[in-house]
C-alpha cells in the first residue's frame, strides 16, 4: 500500500513537473544551460587532454633536484616537476665543414672527414675527468636492448653509458669507419622501410633532423651537423661545466652566442600506442552504434534529428557535469577520461530519454501540449524512478568493491546519473514540449484546408460524426489523416538517402578523407613540406615539435614508402665502376656546376634547442629501446655544447676511402624530384584506393543495415508465386496447399453483414439478400429471399438472373477452383454501374409502399429481364444510367403487393429497408433493419419466422444471446426482446415454401415450432447519442455510444449496471468475452480495460492516433488496431504496450484471434496470420485474383479454426492449417 501511495505521489509530482516544463520552456532551458555551464566551469582548470610533451624551463645556475613534496608557493611550477628526472640529456652539437672547399674534392668529402672527427670528440668526452669524476660514474647506465630489437644491437650501446653519436654506426671504432666503403649505405641500411611512427635510428644517432645533418651527396652548404647525446643519471654541475669548457677550448666556436643558462624539463604524457588505440576505437564504434540504434527509435515527432541531438546533448553534458562537479569537490580524475567515457555513456544510457519521448507521443493528440507532456511524464514516472533506483543501487554496490579505479568510476557514474536525471527532467522535457508544440502547429496548418469548419481541438471534443450509416470501420478514411505522418513512414532506404542528401555526408566523408590524405602526404613528406611546417611551427609554438598534431591514429593504417628509404637507394647502385685514373681524369674534366665557395659555419639561436625539431617521440623512443618508459615522467635537457670543427681539404683527402672517388657524378636533382614524384604518386594511388575501399565499405554497411523496408507501403503488390513462400524464424514454412481460401460466391453486391454461430454462416449484402452457408463445407444452404419468385428484386435485373440457378450456382461455385457459369456478363455489369450501390443503400423504409404502382413495376421488371436475356453480351443497353435506375427502383417497390396472395404481408420480409445488423444463433437469423424492424428467419428453410415492428428507429446493432435479442437503435434506445418458442398448435403462422422438407432439421428450433419475439423492455434513452457498438457475453450487454460512454446491462432483467466514463471520444470498439473481460476503444485512440463486476477502470492507455477500429483480447494481451494502420499488442494486466505492428496504409482494420498466439488480420485483398509471441508475420493468404481494390472489412473466427471474411461481394472461408495451431 505505501508503495502504491509512493507511486501515486511520484506520478503526481511528475505531472506537475511536466506542466511546469511545458508552460515555461524558455526560462527553463536558460536555467538548465546556465547550470550546465556552471557545473562545467571547473573543467577549465583541467589540463587539456593530449599526449604531447609539456615543458618547463628553469635556470641552470640555481638548479636543484625538485623535491617530491613540492611547496605550493612556486605557482608556476607544474605538478609533474617533482623528484629527479629520468635522465639529464647533454647534447654536444658538432658542426663540421671542410674549408676551404676546392674543386678537387668529391661530394663524399663533405661528410666523410667531418664524421670521422666524431671519434676524437667522443674520446675526449669519455676520457674527461673532473676531480676524479668521470663520465662513467655520472652517465645513465643501460642494460640490454629489448628482445625485439636484435638488429639494433650492433648500433645502440648496451651494458654501459647511454651515449649515442653517429659513431655508433661503426661501433665507435675509427678503423671500421675508415674501412667502410659507403658511409651513406651504412647510415641508411638501418632506416625502416615503410612509414614509421617513432624516431628513426638516424635521428637518434645524429640527434638532429635528417635533413639538417648534411650527410648526403647533395649538400650544398657543405656543413655537416650532428650531435653526441649523453644521458646522465645524475647532475653534477661542475663536471658538466668543465666538460663544456674543455670542449669549447679544444674546438672553439667563433661568433657563437648560444645561451647556456636554461635547462628544459620535458614531461611526457602517457603514450597511447596502436595496440591501446584499437580497443579504444572499438569501444567508441560500439558507442556510436548504440547511440545510432537508440535515436533511431525516436518516432512521431516533428524533428527526429533535433530530438536525437537533444538526447545526445543531454547525455554528454551530464557527463561533463559529473566530471566538473567531481573536480569541484576535489576529486581529480585519474582515470583516462577517453577510455572510460564510452562506458559511462552506456551506463547512463539514452533509454530514459526515449521512454519519455514515446510516452509523451502516445498521449492523446487532442489534448493540450502542456497536458500531454504532463501525462506522458506521469505515465512513465514510476518506471523511470525504478530504473534510476536500480542503477544507483548497482553502482553503489560497485562502490563497495573498494577497488580505487572502480570506486572512481562509480563516483563519476553516480554524479553522472543524477545530473542526467536532472537534465532529462528539465532540458529534454522542455525540448520535447517545444517539439510537440511545433508538430501540433504543423498538423493544424496541414489540416486546416481539409477541415476548415472544425472547431479547435479541446480536451475531449465532441466529434461530430455523420449519423446514419451503421458503424463499420471504413478503411478508406485513413487517407485523410495519412499525410500528417507521412514523413515518418518513409522507407528506410529513402530515409538514408535523404539523410545523406540533407547532411551532405558523402561530401563530408570525402573532405575528411582528403584531410587525412593530406595529413599522410605531409607526414611522409615527399615534397619537403614537413620541414617547412616544422620550421614555422617551432618558431611560433613554445612546444616546438610537440605542437604538431600527432598522426598516431592515422599513419600506421596506410603503409607507405618512406621517402628517405627511397632516397637511400640512390647512392647504392654503381652501374659501371670506373678505374681510378679514369675517374680522376673525369673528375678533373668535369665542369663545376656549383660555384666554389667555402662553407661557413654559423651559429644562430635556432641551434640552441635543435632537439625541438626532432620528433616528440624521439626521447621516448630512445629510452624505450632499453625498456625505460618516459610516460608520466620527465627528462631534463641541459644546454647544448657547441663544437665547431674546421677541416682542411688535405685532411679530407687523406681520410678518403679508395672507393669514394668511384662514385658516379651526382645524379641531377631531377631524378630526385622524380623519385619524390613517384612517392607522391604512390601515396596518391594509395589514397585513391583507400577512398574506393571506404566507399565500398559504406556501401556494404548500408546494404547490411538497411535492406528491409525495401519499398514498404508499396502500392503495387506483386502476386506471390507458389514455391515462393516465406519461412519463419526457424525455417518453418507452412505448406501452401493447406491455406487456400474457399471463396463463397453468390452475392451480387458488397457484403454488409456477417454472422456465424460456428455451424452456419449468414451473410447479407447491399442488395439485401441474405445467404446462409455451411461453415464447414462452404455450401450455400439458403438464399433469402428466394429469388426464384422474382418478387424481391428491388435493385436490378441481375438478381433475376441469379434466380435461375440460385442453389445450383451456389453449390457449384464454391468448389475450388471456382468456375462460374455466368462469368462473362456479370463483371461488366458491375463495372458499368458503380453508382447504383448508394442508391440501393438509401433508406426507403420511410416511404410508404404504394400499391398503385404495382403492375407497372412488375412489367418493367419483365421488360428489363427480356432485354437482359436478349443482349447478354451488351448489358449496358439494358441498364440506363442512374436517374432511370432510381425510377425503376421506385417501381420495383411496388413489387411487394404482387407477391403470391397466400402469403400474408407481415410474413414477408421488409425488402425495402436495408439490413443494418444481423445475428445468427441456432438456426435463427435475427436481422435488424433500417426501418427499425426486427426479423427472425429460419436459416435453413429461409422462411421468416417472426418479425417485430415495435421500434421505428433503425437498428444499428444486434446481440443475440440465449433466448434474448438486444437491439440498439439509431436514436440511442436499447430494446430487449425475448424469443419464445411454443410448440405448434396449428400452422397458423408458418408459411414456409413447400418442398424444403428434405433439408436437415435445425439443431435448436424445429420448423414446427412457433417462434414469437416479444419486446420485453425498451430503454428509451440508453445513450445520449447513437449507439455504435453492442456486444453481449457472459450475461451482460455492453453498449458503446457516440456520447463517450460505455454502459453495461444485465441481460436477464435489462437493468443498467454501470455507466463507464473515461473516453474522450465516441466509442468505436468493445470487446467482452465469457471471462468478463471488457475493453473499449474510442475515437480518441484510447483503450480502456474495465472490471465488469465493479465497474472500475483497470487500465487506460493511449494507443492510436485516430480511432481504435478493432479490439480483441486473449488471456494475456489486448490487441487493438487503429486508423493509424497500427496493430498494438498490450499486456492485459499492466497495460504496457508490448509491441506494435505497422501495417500498410489502407489495410483493413479487422482483427481476430484464432488461438492464444495466433492473430489474424485483414488487409488489402488478403488476410495475414501473425504469431502473437513474436509479432512475426506467419503467412499472408490472398483471397482472390483481382483483389487490389478490395479490403477485408469484417472477419469472423469460427470455432473450427476457420476464418470468414468478406471480400467485396464474395465471402472467403480460410481454414487455418493444423500446423499453425500447433504453435500454441
Amino acid at each position: 500500500m505505501p508503495l502504491k501511495r509512493l507511486r501515486q505521489n511520484i506520478s503526481a509530482a511528475f505531472y506537475r513537473h511536466g506542466l511546469l516544463c511545458a508552460s515555461y520552456p524558455v526560462p527553463i532551458i536558460l536555467f538548465t544551460s546556465a547550470s550546465i555551464l556552471t557545473c562545467c566551469y571547473p573543467l577549465l582548470k583541467l589540463p587539456l587532454p593530449g599526449t604531447g610533451p609539456v615543458e618547463f624551463t628553469t635556470g641552470v645556475r640555481d638548479y636543484s633536484i625538485p623535491s617530491h613534496e613540492s611547496p605550493g608557493d612556486l605557482s608556476e611550477r607544474p605538478d609533474w616537476y617533482q623528484g629527479p628526472p629520468v635522465a639529464y640529456i647533454q647534447q654536444v652539437l658538432v658542426k663540421a665543414a671542410v674549408s676551404p672547399w676546392d674543386n678537387s674534392l668529391v661530394p663524399v668529402d663533405v661528410f666523410r672527414s667531418p664524421l670521422g672527427r666524431v671519434f676524437s670528440v667522443l674520446e675526449e668526452i669519455r676520457n674527461h675527468v673532473y676531480t676524479d669524476r668521470s663520465l662513467e660514474a655520472l652517465c645513465l647506465q643501460v642494460t640490454d636492448l629489448l628482445p625485439g630489437l636484435r638488429r639494433m644491437q650492433a648500433v645502440l650501446p648496451e651494458h654501459g653509458c647511454l651515449l649515442v653519436s653517429p659513431g655508433n654506426y661503426w661501433q665507435n671504432r675509427r678503423d671500421l669507419f675508415d674501412a667502410d666503403p659507403d658511409l651513406l649505405k651504412t647510415v641508411h641500411q638501418h632506416e625502416p622501410k615503410g612509414l614509421h611512427t617513432s624516431a628513426t635510428l638516424k635521428d637518434l644517432l645524429f640527434g638532429v633532423p635528417g635533413k639538417q645533418t648534411g650527410v648526403s651527396l647533395y649538400n650544398k652548404k657543405r656543413v655537416v651537423t650532428y650531435t653526441i647525446t649523453i644521458a646522465l643519471s645524475s647532475y653534477d654541475a661542475r663536471f658538466v661545466a668543465s666538460l663544456r669548457a674543455r670542449l669549447k677550448q679544444l674546438h672553439p666556436s667563433a661568433n657563437c652566442t648560444l645561451r647556456e643558462d636554461h635547462m628544459v624539463h620535458v614531461h611526457f604524457k602517457e603514450e597511447i600506442g596502436i595496440a591501446e588505440l584499437i580497443p579504444l576505437v572499438t569501444t567508441y564504434i560500439i558507442l556510436f552504434a548504440y547511440i545510432y540504434f537508440s535515436t533511431r527509435k525516436i518516432d512521431m515527432v516533428k524533428s527526429k534529428w533535433g530530438l536525437a541531438l537533444a538526447a545526445v546533448v543531454t547525455v554528454l553534458s551530464s557527463l561533463l557535469m559529473s566530471v566538473g562537479l567531481c573536480t569541484l569537490f576535489g576529486l581529480t580524475p585519474t582515470l583516462n577520461g577517453g577510455e572510460i567515457f564510452p562506458y559511462l555513456v552506456v551506463v547512463i544510457g539514452l533509454e530514459n530519454v526515449l521512454v519519455l519521448t514515446k510516452s509523451v507521443v502516445s498521449t492523446p493528440v487532442d489534448l493540450e501540449v502542456k497536458l500531454r507532456i504532463a501525462q506522458g511524464l506521469s505515465n512513465e514516472s514510476w518506471s523511470i524512478m525504478k530504473n534510476m533506483a536500480t542503477e544507483l543501487c548497482i553502482i553503489l554496490i560497485g562502490y563497495f568493491t573498494f577497488v580505487p579505479a572502480i570506486q572512481e568510476f562509480c563516483l563519476f557514474a553516480v554524479v553522472g546519473l543524477v545530473s542526467d536525471f536532472f537534465l532529462q527532467m528539465f532540458f529534454f522535457t522542455t525540448v520535447l514540449s517545444i517539439d510537440i508544440r511545433r508538430m501540433e502547429l504543423a498538423d493544424l496548418n496541414r489540416r486546416l484546408p481539409a477541415e476548415a469548419g472544425m472547431p479547435p481541438p479541446k480536451p475531449g471534443p465532441l466529434r461530430p460524426r455523420e449519423t446514419p450509416p451503421p458503424p463499420r470501420p471504413s478503411p478508406h478514411t485513413i487517407t485523410l489523416q495519412a499525410p500528417a505522418f507521412r514523413n515518418l513512414r518513409l522507407p528506410k532506404r529513402l530515409r538514408v538517402v535523404y539523410f545523406l542528401a540533407r547532411t551532405r555526408l558523402a561530401q563530408r566523408i570525402i573532405m575528411v578523407g582528403t584531410v587525412i590524405w593530406i595529413g599522410i602526404l605531409v607526414y611522409t613528406d615527399p615534397a619537403g613540406l614537413r620541414t617547412l611546417l616544422a620550421a614555422q611551427v617551432s618558431e611560433q609554438s613554445p612546444l616546438g615539435e610537440a605542437g604538431l598534431p600527432p598522426h598516431l591514429g592515422v599513419a600506421p593504417v596506410f603503409p607507405g614508402r618512406d621517402p628517405t628509404s627511397t632516397l637511400s637507394v640512390l647512392p647504392a647502385p654503381e652501374p659501371t665502376p670506373l678505374p681510378e685514373n679514369q675517374s680522376q681524369g673525369h673528375r678533373a674534366a668535369r665542369p663545376e656546376v656549383v660555384p666554389v665557395s667555402s662553407p661557413q659555419i654559423t651559429w644562430g639561436p635556432e641551434d640552441e634547442e635543435l632537439w625541438r625539431r626532432l620528433s616528440f617521440r624521439h626521447w621516448p623512443a630512445l629510452f624505450s629501446y632499453y625498456n625505460i618508459t618516459l610516460a608520466k615522467r620527465y627528462i631534463s635537457i641541459l644546454p647544448v655544447i657547441p663544437v665547431t670543427l674546421h677541416l682542411s681539404p688535405q685532411e679530407a683527402i687523406d681520410t678518403r676511402h679508395p672507393q669514394d672517388t668511384h662514385h658516379a657524378p651526382p645524379p641531377s636533382i631531377k631524378t630526385s624530384d622524380l623519385q619524390a614524384d613517384l612517392t607522391l604518386y604512390k601515396v596518391a594511388a594509395l589514397g585513391l584506393f583507400a577512398g574506393v575501399v571506404l566507399v565500398l565499405l559504406l556501401f556494404c554497411l548500408y546494404r547490411v543495415l538497411c535492406p528491409r523496408n525495401y519499398g514498404q507501403n508499396g502500392v503495387p503488390h506483386g502476386r506471390r508465386r507458389r514455391g515462393d513462400l516465406p519461412c519463419d524464424e526457424y525455417g518453418y514454412s507452412p505448406p501452401i496447399s493447406e491455406i487456400s481460401p474457399l471463396l463463397l460466391r453468390g452475392h451480387s453486391m458488397d457484403i454488409e453483414c456477417l454472422a456465424s454461430d460456428g455451424m452456419l454462416l449468414a451473410s447479407c449484402c447491399l442488395a439485401r439478400q441474405i445467404r446462409v452457408w455451411d461453415a464447414q463445407t462452404g455450401d450455400c444452404l439458403t438464399v433469402i429471399p428466394n429469388n426464384g419468385l422474382r418478387r424481391s428484386s428491388s435493385s436490378g435485373c441481375w438478381e433475376h438472373r441469379d434466380g435461375w440457378d440460385h442453389i445450383g450456382a451456389c453449390e457449384a461455385e464454391n468448389i475450388f477452383p471456382i468456375r462460374r457459369r455466368t462469368t462473362p456478363a456479370r463483371p461488366a455489369l458491375f463495372g458499368d454501374q458503380p453508382d447504383l450501390t448508394p442508391l440501393i443503400d438509401t433508406n426507403f423504409g420511410s416511404l410508404p409502399p404504394s400499391q398503385t404502382l404495382s403492375s407497372s413495376g412488375f412489367d418493367f421488371g419483365g421488360l428489363v429481364e427480356k432485354a437482359y436475356q436478349e443482349h447478354e453480351t451488351s448489358p449496358t443497353l439494358a441498364f440506363p444510367p442512374s436517374p432511370p435506375a432510381s425510377q425503376q427502383r421506385r417501381r420495383s417497390l411496388g413489387d411487394q403487393p404482387v407477391l403470391p396472395p397466400e402469403l400474408p404481408p407481415q410474413n414477408n420480409g421488409d425488402w425495402d429497408s436495408s439490413v443494418w445488423a444481423m445475428e445468427l444463433r441456432g438456426n435463427l437469423i435475427a436481422t435488424g433493419r433500417s426501418s427499425g424492424k426486427l426479423e427472425l428467419w429460419d436459416a435453413v428453410e429461409g422462411s421468416l419466422r417472426c418479425s417485430n415492428e415495435d421500434g421505428v428507429s433503425g437498428i444499428t446493432a444486434l446481440a443475440f444471446l440465449n433466448n434474448r435479442i438486444v437491439a440498439a437503435r439509431l436514436n440511442g434506445s436499447l430494446d430487449f426482446f425475448t424469443v419464445e418458442i411454443t410448440k405448434p398448435l396449428g400452422l397458423l403462422q408458418y408459411r414456409g415454401p413447400p418442398g424444403r422438407g428434405s433439408l436437415p432439421p435445425s439443431p435448436c428450433y424445429s420448423s414446427e415450432d412457433v417462434i414469437s419475439c416479444q419486446l420485453t423492455r425498451s430503454v428509451q434513452c440508453a445513450h445520449q447519442k447513437q449507439i455504435t457498438v453492442l456486444k453481449a457475453a457472459a450475461g451482460r450487454v455492453v453498449t458503446g455510444s457516440q456520447d463517450h460512454t460505455v454502459r453495461v446491462y444485465r441481460l436477464e432483467d435489462s437493468c443498467c449496471l454501470f455507466t463507464l466514463q473515461g473516453h474522450s471520444g465516441g466509442i468505436t470498439a468493445i470487446y467482452i468475452d465469457q471471462t468478463m473481460v471488457l475493453a473499449s476503444g474510442g475515437q480518441d485512440g484510447t483503450i480502456c480495460v474495465w472490471d465488469v463486476l465493479t465497474g472500475s477502470r483497470v487500465s487506460h492507455v493511449y494507443g492510436h492516433r485516430g480511432d481504435v477500429t478493432s479490439l480483441v483480447c486473449t488471456t494475456s494481451c489486448i490487441i487493438s488496431s487503429g486508423l493509424d494502420d497500427l496493430i498494438c499488442i498490450w499486456d492485459r494486466s499492466t497495460g504496457i504496450k508490448l509491441y506494435s505492428i505497422q501495417q500498410e496504409v489502407g489495410c483493413g482494420a479487422s482483427l481476430g484471434v484464432i488461438s492464444e498466439s495466433l492473430l489474424v488480420t485483414g488487409g488489402q485483398g488478403c488476410v495475414s496470420f501473425w504469431d502473437l509471441n513474436y509479432g512475426d508475420l506467419l503467412q499472408t493468404v490472398y483471397l482472390g485474383q483481382s483483389s487490389e481494390g478490395q479490403s477485408v472489412r469484417q472477419l469472423l473466427v469460427l470455432d473450427n479454426a476457420a476464418i470468414v471474411c468478406d471480400f467485396g461481394n464474395e465471402l472467403s472461408l480460410v481454414y487455418v492449417p493444423s500446423v499453425l495451431e500447433k504453435l500454441d
Binding site: 596502436i274 580497443p279 577510455e339 625498456n627 508499396g714 513462400l725 513474436y1174
Partner: protein, 229 residues
C-alpha cells in the same frame, strides 16, 4: 512541398523491385550461413580486440612491430573464438524455439550494442584495473557478468546455457594450458586465471544476445518480403 516530394519518391522506391539480396536472405540455409558468418566475424573481431587488451597489460611501450607479433603469436585463437561465437549465436535462438520461450526482453539493436559495450568494459576492467587480490577481481567480474545477464537477458535458459558453456570453455582452456599450448603469466586457478569463467559467461551472454537479434532481424526481412508481396 517537401512532404509531397518525399511521398512521390517513396512511391518510386516502392515501385522498385527487390534486389537479389532480399531473395537470398530469405532462403533458409543462406540465412543461417549469413548469420553464422556475421557471428564468426564478430567473434574474431572481439577476440582480437580483447586479446590486445590482455597483451597490453604487461607492455608499457610498444616496439614498432607489436602488432605483427600479436597477429602471429596465436593465430588460432581468433578463428576459435569466431567459431564458438557462431555456434553459440545460432544455438541461442534455436534453444528459444525448442523451449518455446521466445526471448522478450528489449529486443532492440541498441540494447545489443549496450550489451557488447558492457562486455568490452568487463574485459577492460579485468585487464586495466588493479585489484588488491585475485579473489576480489574474480568476485567483481562474476557480479558484473551476472549483472550483464540480468540487464540484457533475464531468461533462465540463457543463464543455464551460459553457465554450461562457460564451464566447458574453462575446462577446455585448462586442458590446453595443461598440455602446454599456451600459458598464463600468473595462474591462480589451477592453470588459468580465476576470472576466466566469468569472462566466458559474459561472452556467451553477449554473443547469444547478438545471435538472437540477428535471428529476429533476418526473420523480419523475410517477413517484410512476404508482407510486401
Amino acid at each position: 512541398d517537401d512532404d509531397s516530394t518525399e511521398f512521390n519518391d517513396e512511391l518510386g522506391g516502392a515501385l522498385m523491385r527487390r534486389g537479389p539480396y532480399i531473395s537470398m536472405i530469405t532462403n533458409r540455409t543462406m540465412n543461417v550461413l549469413i548469420r553464422a558468418a556475421m557471428l564468426f566475424m564478430v567473434g574474431v573481431f572481439l577476440a582480437l580486440v580483447l586479446n590486445l587488451l590482455q597483451v597490453q597489460r604487461n607492455v608499457t611501450l610498444f616496439p614498432p612491430d607489436v602488432i605483427s607479433s600479436i597477429f602471429s603469436s596465436a593465430w588460432w585463437v581468433p578463428p576459435c573464438c569466431g567459431t564458438a561465437a557462431a555456434l553459440i549465436g545460432l544455438l541461442y535462438p534455436c534453444m528459444d524455439r525448442r523451449l518455446g520461450e521466445p526471448h522478450k526482453l528489449k529486443r532492440e539493436w541498441s540494447n545489443v550494442m549496450r550489451c557488447v559495450a558492457v562486455f568490452v568494459g568487463i574485459n577492460h576492467a579485468s585487464a586495466k584495473v588493479d585489484f588488491a587480490n585475485n579473489v576480489q577481481l574474480s568476485l567483481t567480474l562474476a557480479a558484473l557478468s551476472v549483472g550483464l545477464w540480468w540487464t540484457f537477458d533475464r531468461s533462465r535458459s540463457g543463464f543455464g546455457l551460459g553457465v554450461v558453456i562457460a564451464i566447458l570453455a574453462t575446462l577446455a582452456t585448462q586442458l590446453l594450458v595443461y598440455n602446454g599450448v599456451f600459458q598464463y603469466t600468473s595462474p591462480d586457478f589451477l592453470y588459468i586465471r580465476s576470472w576466466l569463467p566469468c569472462i566466458f559467461f559474459a561472452g556467451v551472454i553477449t554473443v547469444g544476445n547478438i545471435g538472437r537479434q540477428l535471428a529476429l532481424y533476418e526473420y523480419k526481412v523475410s517477413q517484410e518480403k512476404t508482407h510486401q508481396d
